[in-house]
């Protein structure tokens, strides 16, 4: 699917000959999420996916901020850093920029990534730091026991908004595209197959990959994404994005609209050649952005899959190139030469 990019994402990370299993990636720590939390499904999906990469376990690092999802690193038997609220992208930037031999993952939530840490997220994306960012979006603050989050729908009744929230929510995909992200995708906690297929592409992508994962908080915001899981309606609501494929389901299709944008129409109202073919590699992000808006306003059509995947040098590569260039043009630095570099004079 991604001939241009496939495999490049991990090219600098040492591989192992030892066969790994899910068990190798389980730490000895007891998992302490609420029973029924969507995080369990994501953890299991990640643990069972990692062996597929064949990486040396010691070269994998999970970095997180604060929130329910940010406990994730404790449960993986890799290197891990559970940091402070919102700052995981910044900490991971320093690590990934200086260590191209690591597979660095950022585990974050909607409050962590889009509220207190919004600034770090957008800058990590625009810099294209070599990170896999998994954004668990449950549209609520769980760890602080149920306040509305920056992805909560307007009018949300919560402990801190008894008369309903006033704030227009962020659309994480739109935000990431606006922040010049080179890889942007969405998946669902309960669909392990799809989740792992997106992770596969995200890890193959060298640079920043943002994967929004719709995740259910069964305590404070249960069934937030139920329409996408209910067999009765899910196929009608879900818009599957696959590069090179027409964007259509049995019942509906995405086409160019007369106003220059895109729109969803009944499948049988258009011919095959009118259906928009998904081009995740398009350097112009405008169609990807338009796709990210399809769920507005009523969660009627929800695109799932990879919105955008373009080739752009990763930040650590560019940084290393400057170091190489400096050494190449004048040789490695020497302290004595440095100190004597200014105007000097001798006494005695």
């Amino acid at each position: 699917m991604t001939e241009l990019l496939n495999g490049k994402g991990l090219s600098l990370v040492p591989k192992t000959d030892v066969k790994q299993t899910l068990k190798d990636f389980k730490s000895d720590q007891e998992v302490r999420w609420c029973p029924g939390c969507g995080d369990y499904a994501i953890l299991a999906a990640v643990q069972s996916f990692l062996p597929e990469l064949g990486l040396r376990r010691e070269n994998i690092v999970f970095v997180s901020g604060i929130g329910c999802s940010s406990r994730f690193p404790y449960y993986l038997n890799t290197y891990g850093f559970h940091s402070i609220h919102g700052r995981a992208p910044a900490i991971a930037t320093g690590l990934a920029a200086s260590r191209p031999d690591l597979s660095v993952w950022v585990i974050t939530g909607d409050g962590d990534a889009l509220s207190i840490g919004g600034n770090h997220l957008i800058h990590a994306l625009r810099r294209n730091v070599n990170l896999n960012i998994l954004l668990f979006n449950n549209r609520i603050y769980g760890l602080t026991k149920g306040q509305y989050s920056p992805t909560s729908e307007v009018g949300k009744i919560t402990k801190s908004t008894p008369m309903g929230s006033l704030d227009k929510p962020f659309n994480p995909i739109s935000l990431a595209l606006g922040a010049e992200a080179s890889f942007v995708a969405r998946t669902i906690d309960s669909d392990r197959k799809h989740l792992q297929s997106v992770l596969r592409e995200a890890t193959a992508h060298r640079g920043a990959s943002l994967v929004e994962i719709y995740q259910n908080c069964n305590i404070f915001n249960d069934n937030a994404f139920e329409q996408l899981k209910d067999p009765e309606v899910r196929d009608d609501i879900t818009v599957r994005l696959e590069h090179g494929q027409p964007i259509a389901s049995a019942s509906k299709a995405v086409v160019r609209a007369a106003n220059g944008g895109i729109e969803v129409v009944a499948r049988d109202s258009v011919s095959d050649d009118q259906i928009l073919v998904h081009d995740a590699h398009n350097p112009d992000p405008s169609v990807a952005f338009a796709l990210s808006r399809l769920d507005e306003p009523a969660f009627e059509h929800v695109p799932i899959g990879i919105f955008r995947q373009i080739d752009r040098p990763a930040y650590d590569t560019l940084m290393a190139e400057q170091l190489d260039e400096a050494v190449g043009s004048a040789g490695p630095g020497g302290l004595s030469e440095l100190l004597l570099g200014g105007d000097t004079w001798r006494i005695g």
Binding site: R56, V63, L95, A97, H120, H123, L323, G331, L339, T344
Partner: protein, 614 residues
């Protein structure tokens, strides 16, 4: 006419003009010539935060003070012997600092009605008696420069721009400074604009010749080179020395340097300097904000780099939570705070020592951080290495407290022998340390209490760290009360046990009853004041703290040795609070927070008063 040459042992010159007049460059060049000539020197730039305040106004005045001597000196000097005033605002803003009899070289071309009005002069002070206490040299610097450049194909405006070089030429003649360096500098600076280079050189030479020929200057002055300890010297500012110290720390620790930083006055020059030295494998990262700067540095440290962040007070406030994370995850990190006047934005280009208590205590929880403070511009080099040594050896964030005075001030620096620099390298942990082949990330070294530093990529030592309290040994999440108490005390004991050298006291006769103690950048003015007291027969002992946490082991014993302890600080008594609390010594504080360093004369008066009082 043969002009008279007078010998002086020291001179203090202040160049003052509008922000756009190039006074900092003029001062820098005069300093370079003076350094080359072999005088000891010390400089004090003083400029507004505004890049170009309205021309000709008092807030727009920028100045550069240089003290040079035929002996070793410790400060940029209290009061200028010579003021170069490029306009009425520069004269008015600086006149209060001029002692009676000082020389004023005033650029008469700028003493126009409009410029005089801008600063509230009804009539030109050059034309009435108001300057009779001083020796005024009225020189039409601008028009002389334009005249000297009339053969050049330059607009009048461009020609006028070279007036600072004319002034530099005149002062270079007046004090017998070598000229070759300035000419070479101008050729290099304007290599791509040879016409501008030639014009500036012509203006510089015209200024020199003007001094030589005009009757307005009948005397020139010589200040013989100083007899300094033998060695190779260069002139260096605190920020540059600090940057070099960090590079040396990277080499001596064998760790790649990672700087995460956000631009802020007066610390940005460290970022600028380090970004030029990629040949040392240094990664400089201009972050999206202060928090990301320190976060990236900490992330890099987790990966095995020498993580550094550079900032000033407002930035330290923003970084506090991440520094706390470094405290509890016990990773090496260097936080450089080039202090400036606060609170809040305060006065960004002015100096202060007001971040000491923030450095020590400005975090949530029991969060001990070692603090090192350099005492002179060149000492920033050694202090940076010392901060790195502590950070790496004890796996801890370290605060390095410089300030605006050290950062922008400069002095001759005797270059260290590279072979004499300390080896501060520590091995990463590569093998399990638990009984059954497990890895315990919080099992400590018995001597230093430092935990192992095992970096990603090390097989078999995979582990998780974080901001939640960790169980002793395993590092697993723990809410156990006894464990928390143990961890809090252990982190405190680790920092308290850091090996710092004992305080040394300078008390030549050994019978002083008064001790002056200081910390950080006040060393120069305090030492200069102490010299004055001793010269006039007074007895006073001096000691100076470079380590503020932990304090040297003999601090209390020394404080108690004297009848009186005087502590001058450019804050409202922050170290005094600590010394009183720790040692129950009735420290006498002397505090000024004017955004400026102490003057030696001022401190000598304070010391004398303490000696004289019962």
């Amino acid at each position: 006419m043969t002009k008279q040459v007078q010998q002086l042992d020291r001179v203090i010159i202040r160049f003052a003009g509008d922000s756009g007049d190039g006074m900092q460059l003029t001062g820098d060049r005069f300093t370079a010539g003076t350094a080359e000539f072999g005088n000891d020197l010390s400089t004090l730039p003083n400029f507004p935060a505004e890049i170009r305040a309205p021309a000709g106004t008092l807030p727009g005045v920028s100045s550069f003070q240089l003290h040079f001597a035929d002996h070793d000196i410790l400060t940029p000097g209290d009061a200028p012997n010579v003021l170069v005033a490029m306009n009425p605002a520069a004269l008015k803003a600086n006149l209060g600092d001029l002692p009676r009899g000082a020389d004023i070289i005033a650029n008469t071309d700028e003493f126009t009605k409009r410029n005089l009005q801008k600063v509230g002069y009804a009539t030109s002070p050059l034309d009435d008696d108001s300057l009779s206490e001083w020796r005024v040299h009225a020189v039409p610097l601008t028009s002389l420069t334009v005249k000297a450049l009339e053969d050049f194909d330059l607009s009048k405006k461009d020609a006028e721009r070279s007036k600072n070089m004319f002034a530099l030429g005149l002062l270079s003649w007046l004090y017998h400074r070598p000229t070759e360096h300035t000419i070479k500098f101008l050729e290099q600076k304007f290599a791509k604009k040879p016409d501008i280079a030639k014009a500036n050189i012509a203006a510089f030479q015209a200024g020199w010749n003007y001094g030589e020929t005009t009757e307005g200057f009948s005397v020139s002055y010589e200040v013989k080179p100083a007899q300094l300890p033998p060695g190779v010297y260069r002139n260096i500012s605190g920020n540059q020395a600090l940057a070099y110290g960090l590079i040396a720390a990277s080499v001596q620790s064998k760790l790649p340097l990672f700087l995460g930083s956000y631009p802020i006055t007066p610390a940005s020059d460290i970022l600028h300097e380090l970004s030029r030295h990629k040949r040392f494998g240094i990664r400089t990262f201009q972050a999206e904000d202060e928090i990301a700067g320190v976060g990236a540095a900490l992330g890099a440290a987790f990966g095995g780099a020498l993580g550094v962040t550079t900032t000033s007070g407002p930035g330290v406030a923003l970084k506090a939570e991440t520094v706390g994370l470094a405290v509890t995850t016990e990773l090496p990190l260097i936080v450089v705070d080039v202090q400036r006047a606060g609170p809040s934005t305060g006065m960004p280009t002015k100096t202060e020592q007001t971040d000491l208590l923030m450095a020590l205590f400005g975090r949530n929880g029991e969060s001990p951080v070692p603090v090192v403070a350099p005492m002179s511009p060149s000492d920033c080099f050694d202090a940076a290495i010392e901060a790195a040594r502590i950070a790496v050896k004890y796996r801890t964030p370290v605060m390095l407290l410089s300030d605006g005075y050290l950062a922008n001030g400069s002095e001759p620096w005797r270059l260290p022998e590279i072979a004499d620099l300390p080896d501060i390298s520590q091995d990463f942990t590569t093998a399990p340390n638990g009984e059954d082949g497990t890895f315990l990330p919080f099992k400590r070294d018995a001597d230093t209490l430092a935990r192992p530093w095992a970096i990603p990529g090390t097989p078999g030592l995979e582990h998780r760290i974080g901001g939640i309290e960790k169980a002793d040994g395993t590092g697993n999440i723990s809410y156990d009360p006894a464990n928390h108490d143990l961890m809090v005390r252990t982190r405190a004991a680790k920092v308290a046990g850091i090996d710092v050298p004992d305080l040394e006291v300078d008390d030549p006769d050994g019978d002083a009853r008064v001790l002056v103690i200081g910390w950080g950048s006040t060393y120069g003015p305090i030492a200069a004041a102490v010299r004055r007291i001793r010269k006039s027969g007074g007895k006073v002992a001096q000691t100076h703290l470079r380590h503020l946490n932990p304090l040297p082991a003999n601090t209390g014993e020394i404080l108690k040795r004297y009848d009186k302890v005087l502590l001058p600080e450019i804050n409202l008594g922050q170290l005094a609070l600590l010394l009183r609390a720790r040692f129950l010594v009735d420290v006498i504080s002397y505090n000024r927070v004017r955004g400026l360093p102490f003057k030696a004369e001022e401190l000598a008066g304070v010391i004398q008063d303490v000696i004289d009082s019962d």
